[in-house]
Structure formats: C-alpha cells, structure tokens
C-alpha cells in the first residue's frame, strides 16, 4: 500500500505516448460501452506516466474541429488542458530535426514519433521516469494506426501497441502471480 500522492511525485513504472488516433477516438467514444482509447486516456497520470506534446494535441484539435466532427475549439481546449495536466510535456520542436525523420517512409513526420524521440532526448528531466519504466513495465507508443505502427514492433525503444492491448497491460499490473 502507498500513501496518497500527486500525479508526478513518483514514476509509475510504465510510460506511454498516446497517438492522435487514440486521442481522437477517446473523444468520440460513447460512455457505454467505452472504447479502449477512452479507457487508456482516463488512466493517464494515474496508472502510467503519460507524455505528450503540443504537436500531438494540435493535430487532435485540427481533426476534431473539422466539419465532420465540428467540435467547438473551446471544448477541445478544455479537455486538452486537463489531459496536459495529467501528462508530462515534451517539446519536439526543440530537438534538432532529422533524427525522428530517420525512421523514414511516410511516418517520419508523424507527431507521435517526434514526441517519442523528444522523450528519449529529454535528458535528466524524464530520466527517472524512463529508468523506472525500463526496469518495470516498459515504454509504449499507443496507436490505432496499426498500418504504420505494427503492434509488437518498436522504434527508439518504444513498443507499438493498440489501445486495447495497452489497456490489457495496465489491467494486468498488480495482479498477484499465481
């Protein structure tokens, strides 16, 4: 058992970056039955260390305000403020360009890859979080875009998983060994 603590007081032992495909689905999810994207998003900062960036959140906003969804920008901003408070933020725009693009193909410019790379390059700030996850639950890039992020593959040490699989991993945490 542990004492009550704030969201960033200690590393959770598992780090994840949620892709645009997950965050958009989380917003669009019904309450009942909730989709896996909504479920993993709700656990950000509580059960795992969530890392995000303005690049990802800008993309999510741009998708949700399109005529197809027509979400008022103020509502998206409110949600993002809360999600940001539950997450750690990195700044991919400060990382020299090229490295994230080295992944190649059509996905080299995806915001989630730049964000994941920025976490690796963040230095001392996120090192305790990454170190704890390295020795425990791992690092995950959570995406519903399984064409570009094939589950089980990884890049820069980030394992690709779907929201469903990531939720399963989270639920298994703390299950006593048989």
């Amino acid at each position: 058992m542990t004492q009550f603590e704030g969201p960033f007081t200690h590393p959770k032992g598992i780090v994840a970056v949620l892709d645009t495909s997950v965050l958009v689905r989380a917003w669009l999810s019904p309450v009942q039955p909730a989709n896996p994207s909504r479920r993993v998003m709700l656990l950000a900062g509580g059960i795992y260390d969530s890392v995000t960036s303005a690049q990802i959140l800008d993309e999510v906003r741009d998708v949700l305000v399109r005529p197809r969804f027509a979400v008022p920008p103020i509502r998206v901003s409110k949600w993002m403020d809360i999600f940001l408070r539950a997450s750690r933020q990195v700044f991919p725009q400060l990382i020299p360009s090229g490295e994230a693009g080295a992944v190649g193909g059509d996905i080299g410019d995806l915001a989630v890859l730049h964000t994941a790379y920025a976490v690796n390059a963040s230095g001392e700030e996120l090192e305790p979080v990454l170190a704890a996850a390295r020795g425990d639950g791992g690092w995950f890039l959570v995406s519903e875009n399984t064409r570009d992020f094939v589950p089980g593959h990884n890049v820069y040490g980030w394992q690709f998983v779907t929201a469903h699989e990531f939720h399963r991993i989270l639920v298994r945490r703390g299950v006593p060994p048989r």
Partner: protein, 131 residues
C-alpha cells in the same frame, strides 16, 4: 460519497459564492453554504474501490489489484475493504467531466482515420508550400 467528488477548484468557487452571499446580507444562506463546505473539506479524501472503479472504468478487482500492487495509491482497512486516494482520481474525474460521450456506432474506424489523414495531408501541403 457524492460530496467528496468536488474538486478543490469547485470548493474555492463555492467559498467565493459564500463570501458574495455574505456581502449581499444573505447571512443565513452564507452560513449554511460554509457549513456544507466545511463538512466536505473534513470528509475523508478517499473513495471505495467500487467508486474508484466506476471513475476509472475498470472492475473493482482491478482497483484492488492496483492498490495491493502499489500501482494506485490507497489502502486496505481492518475490515478488508480497499480505499483509493481521491487525489489520484482527480485527473480521471476531470477528464470524464469534459468528455462528451458519443453515440455507439456513430462513426466507423475508417471514417475517423480518413479525417486524421485529411489533417496530415493539409499539413504536409502547407509545409511543402512553405519550403
């Protein structure tokens, strides 16, 4: 239990309201509101495993596993019941408040992906024009 779900921000807003009631001479209303707020602030800052499970949208057993495994801050009381610190549920509570809750089956996966791809195509085109 319902009272414990007020956030600190909401409590501050209600405290401000009490002050305004006072300023308008509504002493009785202000006193009642202050008493209720005091009760809320003095109530245990924790929820049962079942209540936490509803907020986190998992099963109560998962919450118990998380508390037992120190994944989620909480405790087991003398009677064997599990409790979760309200602070560790704040983010999920706030996120649930702002999420709209769409209609089941309203959109297909392909429709969502097409909109995301649309944004990326526009961004790539803008970036290409800017070069």
């Amino acid at each position: 239990m319902g009272s414990a779900l007020l956030s600190q921000k909401q409590i501050r807003r209600l405290s401000s309201l009490a002050r305004r009631l006072d300023a308008h001479g509504l002493k009785e209303e202000s006193r009642t509101l202050r008493e209720v707020l005091a009760e809320i602030e003095n109530s245990p800052r924790e929820l049962s495993a079942s209540a936490a499970a509803r907020i986190l949208e998992v099963t109560p057993q998962t919450v118990r596993n998380w508390v037992r495994g120190a994944v989620l801050p909480g405790r087991k009381d003398r009677t064997g019941h599990f409790h979760v610190g309200l602070d560790s549920l704040t983010a999920a509570l706030e996120l649930r408040r702002v999420l709209p809750g769409g209609r089941p089956g309203a959109l297909t996966e392909d429709e969502i992906d097409a909109e995301i791809e649309g944004v990326r195509t526009e961004r790539r085109a803008r970036a290409a024009r800017g070069r």
